[in-house]
Subunit: 365 residues, 2 copies
């Protein structure tokens, strides 16, 4: 007899039907069989409704229990159980997950987390600073020279834009060697610990080879794109590489964009990122180019931190159109365990000076 | 100088701002840099707005062009260009994609497609019949015996439920050996060509080993879950295995559930599935347990078939709560190049007789 995975869903629409819909969810997400026809043997594998609470004229909250053995400690099937076919149903949103110890035990989670990343970057208490290496269209030498400037100025994490793949302007291998080398030289000069973080935007066939090339060149982390590659591939890579994983939300927005469907911000960009091995989760801060609310950002930050079994807390990394002017308020909002990501705006005016001011601003706190 | 990828987006909201929003999309999806600061060198890598057409008081349609070299013929980056950060913006829906020959040339697409699958199943003109092997919770021997019954009755494709992973009730290796063997015995008895299709619901670490085990056991295809594993992994597997790929939409629903955001049904479950190597695309038929409209289903079917460079057409495979009673109308609706999927309902009453009637119904057309 296994323990239960608990999942909470918001069910939008006529509340009179909420209970019935919760019951069919329990079936849909597990044995997906007409309940009255299910063989007795399959009974131990079916979800159960623990409770349905009406929250408004068109909104109910249902708590379901799935036997842990239905997921079997494997991430792909855990995602299928939590939200697989659900995602195709109207008006169902996954808003809470509690995993039993036996399921959690199957996941390593973040290898570094907040403490590990702070150690690696020799930044025991202050907010971390990150920027994006861009734009696509520059050659590898120019990108490396920008990386050098940022590292000299004291930016901790110099991550590539998610769109840097293997384009002709800056082919992967050349780019990674030059950028890693540039950041190493900067660290040698300053005694700093900046890391260069290439994007894992690869065909799967080339994944292992490119990761080896990057590690050998001196990459200090990887930018994972779980929306593109699946959370499972990020989990696998995080378990294998000796450097931290920075998760980017590209292509994940559709899970978040409609209020009554999808997965909550805190679960998707906080808890799931963490379960799947990310050490920091990048997301669009409120008031930037995107449309996340302050509340949603706080939810992500909570998901990065709240106690979940043995999983280390990770850094929320708000970005997306942020500027130096916003930095103090962001630190106020998220607290010191935050990785501030400022990309394009550092290029406005004198790049080196902006980057140095970014660092001073945080050192001065 | 490369050709262009063309992408069409629906932009919801104030139409007065549509042009400005289309312009920022072009930037967001390529060099993601304040345009006035972008180095001249990056100019060749930026998207362009070809046109914006107002379609209603709150709806505009924007056509964008991205240099093909920005995607570089790689599927992960192609997805990032088409909808990566877009997915995080409110009121933007991807509704059309035209790839230039140089991008299409990088994709093999479906290995079998309609003609290949018809050859494999010795079904030159009739609709194909599929069912789902379930429920989770049964032991491997019981699942194999159900598979045998279905194959004897003349069902072409006996695919596993997407949730069959490696659970204790029917561990992968035992299940696959018994089911493949059961379908082979049935084929030997009937002279039929039924295929057993295990689900690719695996941790990535075990992927190669499990695919080998399944192929060696005699699996006649694989059920891919691109929503869970990413489209890229499906593409890779489709390029490597000598059997057809059946794509399942689990976890993809959030791209479809909100009218003004996400990706259109025809693109996501038709064209993208095909580009990434699926030979059939499973989706919930209108009027079943899910909420797709007839128009959306037709759009998927169109995406499976419309001429796209050298990509073979594939089977639309509507299912999701279908019954024998619906079959004639489904054939009328989709035409003969359809794979009809009936799962749980075949178990209502006498399973063997239902399956045989399913086949008779199609043979009698």
């Amino acid at each position: 007899m296994s323990s239960d995975i608990r999942a909470t869903y918001e069910i939008s629409g006529e509340v009179a039907r909420a209970k019935e819909r919760a019951l069919s969810l329990a079936v849909e997400q597990t044995h997906e069989f007409p309940p009255e026809l299910a063989p007795v043997a399959a009974g131990g594998a079916v979800g159960r409704v623990l409770g349905v609470e009406v929250q408004g004229p068109e909104l109910a909250r249902a708590e379901l229990a799935y036997p842990a053995d239905v997921a079997g400690g494997e991430l792909p099937q855990l995602l299928v159980v939590l939200f697989g076919n659900c995602s195709l149903l109207p008006g169902v949103r996954l808003v809470g997950v509690e995993l039993p110890p036996e399921t959690l035990a199957a996941f390593r989670g973040p290898r570094f987390g907040v403490a590990g990343l702070r150690g690696l970057l020799a930044a025991p208490t202050r907010p971390l600073l990150a920027t994006a290496l861009k734009p696509i269209g520059l050659d590898a030498r120019s990108l490396a020279s920008i990386a050098y400037e940022f590292a000299i100025a004291g930016i901790d994490v110099i991550k590539e834009d998610q769109s840097l793949a293997n384009q002709r302007w800056a082919p992967f291998e050349e780019r990674v060697r030059l950028c890693a080398d540039a950041v190493r030289r900067a660290n040698d000069e300053t005694g700093g610990h900046a890391v260069y973080v290439p994007a894992l935007n690869f065909p799967v066939d080339l994944l292992e080879a490119r990761i080896s090339i990057a590690l050998e060149a001196g990459a200090g982390g990887f930018l994972a794109l779980p929306g593109v590659t699946g959370f499972e591939l990020m989990r696998k890579i995080a378990g294998e590489v000796p450097v931290p994983i920075f998760a980017h939300p590209t292509l994940l927005g559709s899970f978040l964009s409609s209020p009554g469907t999808g997965i909550s911000h805190g679960l998707l960009l906080g808890e799931l990122m963490r379960l799947a091995g990310a050490d920091a989760s990048i997301f669009p801060n409120h008031g930037g180019r995107f449309a996340f609310s302050a509340e949603q950002c706080l939810e992500i930050s909570e998901g990065c931190r709240r106690p979940i079994g043995p999983l280390a807390p990770i850094f929320p990394a708000p970005g997306g159109g942020m500027s130096l002017a916003r930095a103090p308020e962001m630190i106020e909002f998220y607290g010191p365990d935050v990785m501030l990501l400022i990309g394009g705006e550092l290029h406005r005016g004198d790049r080196t000076r902006n980057a140095a001011r970014f660092r001073e601003l945080v050192d001065g706190l």
